[in-house]
Symmetry: C2
Subunit: 482 residues, 2 copies
Amino acid sequence: MEQESSFLDRVLKIVKDESAAHIPLVQFKHPKELEVILHDDIDISEPVSDQDLEQSVRKVLHYSVKTNKSTFRNQLYGGTDPYGLAGAWIAEAFNTSQYTYEVAPVFTLIENKMLDHILKLFGFPDGDGIFSPGGSLSMLYALVAARYKAFPEVKAKGIRNLPEMVIYSSEGSHYSIMKAAHWLGFGTESVRRIKCNQCGQMLTDELEKAMTEDLSNNKVPIMVNGTAGTTVLGAIDNLEEVARICSKYNVWMHVDACWGGSLILSQKYRMKLKGIEQANSISWNPHKMAGAPLQCSLFLLKEKGLLHEANAAAAQYLFQQDKFYDVRYDTGDKSIQCGRKIDAFKLWMIWKARGDIGLNHMTDHVMELAEFCMETVAQKVGFRLVSAPLQCPNVCFWYIPTFMRHQKEDVKWWDLMHKITPKIKEILMTSSRLMVAYSPLRDHKNFFRLAFTFHPRLDEKEIIDMLQAIEDCGEMLSLDIL
Amino acid sequence: MEQESSFLDRVLKIVKDESAAHIPLVQFKHPKELEVILHDDIDISEPVSDQDLEQSVRKVLHYSVKTNKSTFRNQLYGGTDPYGLAGAWIAEAFNTSQYTYEVAPVFTLIENKMLDHILKLFGFPDGDGIFSPGGSLSMLYALVAARYKAFPEVKAKGIRNLPEMVIYSSEGSHYSIMKAAHWLGFGTESVRRIKCNQCGQMLTDELEKAMTEDLSNNKVPIMVNGTAGTTVLGAIDNLEEVARICSKYNVWMHVDACWGGSLILSQKYRMKLKGIEQANSISWNPHKMAGAPLQCSLFLLKEKGLLHEANAAAAQYLFQQDKFYDVRYDTGDKSIQCGRKIDAFKLWMIWKARGDIGLNHMTDHVMELAEFCMETVAQKVGFRLVSAPLQCPNVCFWYIPTFMRHQKEDVKWWDLMHKITPKIKEILMTSSRLMVAYSPLRDHKNFFRLAFTFHPRLDEKEIIDMLQAIEDCGEMLSLDIL
């Protein structure tokens, strides 16, 4: 045991060494290569000494991506807030499940505090909520709540004898709506993917048209999933207009604010979310822009009590009603999970250290940087924006290498551009200069997405360097290597 | 930033101080009291200095339950494996999502390695699987897979036009089956709760009877959920008999081995799981008995490919098919989650350090201790076993205080016993001597459950002390304080 717990002492050093400033972002190896390189390290057939374990762990980390680098721009998450990481470490060390007050007394109060504070921020002062293991789970919570509100008998009877239900979500919204529609028994065909404008916002006229058509066919609109921050363009739907339609037809309004919800932290930028306070439910992932360690997702509802009512199973062995304390503090039966990590604690650590004021500044900084990036891209030779103006801190663009410029941009040209973007990404990544996302979207061929997060804190110089890296690698290309 | 990351250095010291040997298991305060005591500490209205943050964190931990103590026997999890904790800390520091090879190259290989190794252990050499955020989610995965296998059209079309489906699960099985039936649109009434014998095992005659009855009513049995280790009694269903019935009627067999699955680690005790290799799917939570930090749950399937086929949504922005590496290593589209923690890594750390051989010994030790506990309880005056022989390391019993002995055990007497058990628990907990689970079960009034886990490693003396604590606190009771 002496030996065992001493390994924990090594961890801080290993982590510091392997994430030091001089360590490259990524040392890319193809899967089959990496399997060979790490064969003995990954092997678990025989127990190893602490020394050997440390060596293997160091090799594992050597070939892992350093998501805390400023050049990790591959996803909508990145470096963690150091206070959040401290919270995560403490949470892991105290290994606590969130279901009952008796095992998690303080963490229960902390979850309540975080929910209260965040519900008020979003304009749900009398609301309710829960931390869930990610935005896709929060989406499931939303659809379950919407369905239960409309047809409480669904809990016991299922959906077989209910009218046909339909769900509305923009074509730019996150794919979790499709997985949720499958899992919950609606089927993916029950999702109406509403077209977007060029900025990626749901066309609300199309939404209303689809809804009235469904209603005239005796289908029941069960939920509209508005998006505040689409994955690729960072688009924010016109939430006031979505709210008007939902209110008119008495349909549950959910806002997937997993990405864009962090704008609520900024006095200046929260107006972009206007209308969100009219929603019935909201999901927000502080593990994205705000840098809480994975996983930290909130599902929030305007109506108190519904979450418990919809989800409770009243397990006798866990949620006994004859406990010696006030069992209303046992919050776990609101959850689809039984054991549930204390994800609220790491967010509390961040908030306690930084306050509303610190988070406000961080949000403003990220948005200002993204503005700077967008302006720079707009002016820079060879770069072309996909969409403007800025909504969330996503900047999407093509880089057009010199040999591609001043040509007719016909189908063949765009097909080539479609191949150029991933090729530039490959060079950027294999040279460890930058990991950047790319995607096609509707009729747009593959383009880059640079998205910005609170951590690590970037400056304008770093953004210029990233764009320069894209240009440098783009200029390495020629027709014959494509 | 200097200041920020230095907070991480304090964490190890805080964690060590607050989980030192002399620190009590719990300093219980009622919710309203605790809200007052910690009011300023939990408050997040203004940012605080690192010093103040540290003080507040220490107070939070002071009033938190120390789940790593041997006297924490309140749940089916407890202390963590130090190597697992080291893995969790590294995982948090490297903040990585498991969805694609490009962001998680080594962690992808490690997840593959762990799945391969564990699939073989359970007798699914060509199987597939995924790590999920807990047993309830794994249950959802199972039902989704079973339903998709029977009716692949469910993914697009939903379940409205499918025949009425029914699910079988014992009355002692985990409540997550009810939540899953609700969420997935079957409804809780679609679950047949099959009666159990006195040892808590599903009565398979009753299972077959229920199934033939449903079949004759044109209902479609979609899944049987066998249990290997029920939550309270630790009962293991007769899995061979469950398999025979599932095979006869061509029904998906799932085994919820979230608790008992750890017996697979022992050459001696794995025979208790006989028949599990005939299942179509299995769930196992190494975060329970085996001491992986929360959350670490596996969902395993015998059939390769099905998980991907059932769940894939082929998001263009994440699972691009034109990447420069072999995209078969992008495993995330098998998942209901998008972002997904690298839970495999902490389990890998445990396995790498201990090997099959170490885990074998730990399992044997836990089972031997539980045997010792059961024998002691059986012989000890005032104690009475609820169920024997031992299946999983759960020992369930009543403590009958002296003033209750040698009386007629009529309804009134048992009603009193029903109150005595929670009252003893209250005294045990408020005096910080022991946190132990209690539960009623069917016609059994409230009784205790002592369940044993790998960490911390206990000895017989500690078990005797726990029973003594129960006796001591039980003897403090008298009729007038009930």
